[in-house]
Subunit: 213 residues, 2 copies
């Protein structure tokens, strides 16, 4: 059986997104800078259908986070299309174009039901209206022997921690101060972490933790 | 000329001390756990006058932070003895016993003047009542070609960052969640950081940053 895992970039002061998230700026003010270390990587670019890029100490980390993934879970805010009923955004198919970089079933947490959305390349978005625990259960079933990735956003990661459903997390610390926004590890109940290892890479520090029960 | 440097342990959620700091519990509830990685090191134990301990990847980090130090600066809360005039704690000589582990002049920020306190082993506490900038200037002068360490607490580190006086900082991330307390990197103005390197060690991740002007 696979595990439930997660990888999130945060600022030095703990934010995984900046303030004022919007359709134009989904990661909030300055939030995209948290991911700058990834954009130049060949492994990240390949996963997102682009050529070129460099190989460095981050490459193996990205490959590990994306290996052996059988399904994903994400919050409605990360899937996008605004809040509220889909009638307001009936044709919204996510931020990632016709061929999203997931290539497996992705379960989207929402209060508003919608038929599954089959994309190119193996990604199908399923819209789950009965909460996180059933969404993770469905993702585990779809993943079979492979892992489930909790894609985010921060609120979904926190819910997963509070529910005791997360097994491992990679935290990528970017050398930036956001000063405000949404913090990844606020209000995570009694979650306890054990450091597995850290990786020193250009412009980012990767820390891998086991979540203890 | 030396630099102004700092090393601070923080929790995964960014706190450098837990809630309810007191004379009995100066690092606040659960705050001492942030330093657990250091207590077992031979270099830390030697510095604090104890034998034994282990050598691991943290040892070189501790040696670097304590090397070439000519003077220190700390806040009144870190020096201790409660708040307010010294009349209430006339014999308070810090937490560290007769022979504190500094062995250089240490400038204590306080609103309440007091004669310098000469301890064994080369540590002299000077009490500075005109603020952080003069305290750092006096420490730089005392340090000569060597470095000034900003010992803490978090508020003093933040003041130093806001004043643009810090050159380098080691952040030691302990795999703990405190959930509340005092955050090291809240309200640090426009401080910008450049990652120098990270060190993977047992039970802690060390990250060294240059502070950009």
């Amino acid at each position: 059986m696979g595990i439930v895992k997660c990888h999130q970039s945060i600022s030095l002061d703990g934010y995984s997104a900046g303030p004022d998230q919007s359709l134009e700026n989904p990661l909030g003010v300055d939030g995209e800078g948290l991911h700058e270390w990834a954009f130049e990587l060949d492994s990240w670019r390949r996963e997102h259908g682009m050529d070129g890029g460099v190989t460095n100490a981050s490459s193996a980390v990205v490959e590990e986070t994306t290996a052996n993934v059988g399904a994903g879970v994400m919050g409605r805010n990360m899937f996008g299309g605004g809040r509220g009923p889909w009638a307001a955004a009936p044709s919204w198919e996510g931020w990632w174009g016709a061929n999203p970089p997931f290539h497996v079933p992705v379960f989207v947490l929402t209060h508003h039901g919608r038929a599954p959305l089959e994309m190119e390349g193996g990604t199908t978005f399923h819209f789950v209206t009965d909460g996180l625990v059933p969404a993770v259960a469905r993702a585990r079933e779809a993943a079979g022997d492979r892992d489930v990735v909790i894609h985010g956003g921060a609120d979904t990661v926190r819910q997963t921690l509070r529910a005791g459903l997360l097994d491992e997390i990679w935290i990528h610390v970017a050398p930036r101060i956001l000063g405000c926004g949404e913090r990844l590890l606020d209000d995570v109940g009694g979650a306890r972490f054990e450091l597995i290892r850290a990786v020193d890479a250009p412009g980012v520090t990767h820390m891998k933790y086991r979540v203890l029960r």
